[in-house]
């Protein structure tokens, strides 16, 4: 018991003293996950909008597939990216294995389906509401897509945050393709896993607390953003 208590007190010290290793890991975690979420957003929002607006054969099947891919197990994604990027893999020549770039790719693969599926849901609903009016205006497909992306922006923030939440909290994929190399590819989740297994609880606890605070802050702000939309009025 006293061991755990002392771990907590060291953890607090690490946070309060802005321990160099701790800060470096946090910085890298955010760099990797924010990059992944930025790329996933650039892919996922337009894809969600196109799926909401454009009718084409196989659209329904594609939507179902993307929804199913939301549940991809991170370790399997890690394994597949590993096979692709490893020295003998098809993209091995790029030498990305065990780099932050590989981790960004892995998280991207993991969250593109999430951002796409969630934004598709939001945009589909909005498009159903707007469709006749936009048709009546003679809006082109690109105009319709831009309109729903803009008008749906509040709810889209929530989809993007869900993607970010999944990316920062995930261990399996980044552990496999990043390798948890100190000073290079170590992020919060992989460090927690490693330090805990070594029985070195202080750093793990400090990072764990920061991860929890991040997750809570994310969800709270997603809620606030959604809540700030004015109530719909019947009419």
């Amino acid at each position: 018991m006293s061991e755990i208590l002392s771990a907590f007190s060291i953890a607090f010290d690490l946070i309060v003293s802005l321990d160099r290793e701790l800060i470096e890991i946090i910085r890298r975690t955010f760099l990797v996950s924010l990059s992944a979420v930025a790329i996933a957003t650039l892919i996922g929002l337009p894809a969600g909008a196109v799926l909401a607006v454009v009718r084409f054969p196989g659209r329904r099947a594609l939507v179902i597939l993307i929804n199913a891919l939301m549940g991809l197990p991170p370790v399997v994604v890690g394994l597949v990216i590993y096979l692709v990027l490893s020295r003998s893999g098809p993209l091995g020549f790029m030498g990305l294995m065990f780099s932050p770039t590989a981790m960004i790719v892995a998280q991207c693969v993991l969250i593109v389906p999430i951002v796409t599926a969630l934004s598709h849901q939001v945009l589909r609903e909005l498009y159903e509401e707007y469709r006749e009016q936009l048709c009546s205006f003679g809006a082109t497909l690109p105009q319709m897509i831009l309109t729903i992306l803009w008008d749906g922006r509040r709810n889209l923030v929530t989809s993007v945050m869900a993607g970010f939440g999944r990316a920062v909290a995930e261990v399996g994929a980044v552990l496999i393709v990043g390798g948890n190399i100190a000073g290079v590819t170590r992020v919060m989740t992989t460090t927690i896993a490693l330090e805990t297994s070594k029985g070195d609880l202080a750093l793990a606890l400090a990072l764990g607390m920061i991860l929890v605070v991040t997750a809570i802050a994310l969800n709270a702000s997603a809620f606030l953003v959604g809540d700030a939309a004015p109530a719909r009025q019947g009419g």
Binding site: G138, T147, Q233, G235
Partner: protein, 238 residues
């Protein structure tokens, strides 16, 4: 090329196996204010949607000035829906959105939007989120938004259904002004007195069919169809 005359030729519409519009033929010419009358569920809104090209007929054809494809002609038409669709934007942005889609430059747009909002009495609420406007205010905004487009054909689906008497009179005056400006008016209403005030010709719809298309004087004095006669006496059974 103009989108008038607009003609429905033997148009039928089924959705999900239900036959909603059956073998409707009618022609709308430039000029007269056309009022579509009929009981709830008769098919008035569907006929407006077909005429505006929002729905395609299951059988038969719709032609705009002879063309079977509406294409860019749609931008010369405007529609005020029975349930106004409010974009998640301010009243002002809603009023100007059709013009923005049509590519009118911002400076011109602003002047036009200010003008129509003033005329429907919403200038005061220009910055308010359109979705918190009252039902009647939303209807006025929908009218202003369509009017701003200065269309060749204006479809109005019960545009005064939620309005108080003063606002109703104001909307009727605006409809007449739009008509005087050269637009074709195609409007539905539930109100016989309104139909009498506004109609130059009446299309009477009953259970998905057009019972008659008759000049207004004649329609109210001496309807051709038994259904319309019963409707005018307030005796039409559902």
């Amino acid at each position: 090329m103009p989108s008038l005359p607009l003609s429905l030729e033997n148009v039928s519409l089924s959705i999900g196996g239900a036959s909603l519009i059956e073998d409707v033929s009618l022609t709308l010419h430039h000029g007269p204010r056309t009022i579509i009358l009929g009981a709830n569920g008769a098919g008035k809104s569907l006929i407006l949607r077909l005429s505006h090209g929002l729905l395609g007929p299951t059988r038969g054809s719709v032609r705009w000035g002879g063309a079977e494809r509406l294409g860019p002609l749609r931008r010369r038409q405007a529609m005020v829906f029975q349930k106004p669709i409010m974009l998640r934007r301010s009243t002002r942005a809603n009023a100007g959105y059709g013009l923005k889609i049509a590519g009118m430059p911002r400076s011109e747009r602003e002047a036009r939007v200010a003008q129509v909002l003033e005329r429907v009495g919403l200038a005061r609420l220009a910055e308010r989120d359109a979705r918190v406007l009252s039902g009647g205010e939303q209807q006025k905004l929908a009218l202003a938004r369509a009017w701003a487009l200065d269309p060749e054909i204006m479809f109005l689906d019960e545009p005064t259904a939620n309005l108080d008497p003063t606002a109703t009179a104001a909307v009727e005056a605006i409809v007449n002004e739009i008509h005087a400006g050269g637009a074709k008016i195609v409007m539905t209403t539930q109100s016989l007195s309104q139909a009498k005030r506004l109609a130059d010709e009446v299309i009477f719809v009953h259970r998905g069919r057009v019972a008659e298309q008759t000049p207004a004087d004649e329609f109210f004095a001496n309807p051709r169809s038994a259904e319309a006669a019963a409707f005018l006496k307030g005796e039409l059974a559902w």
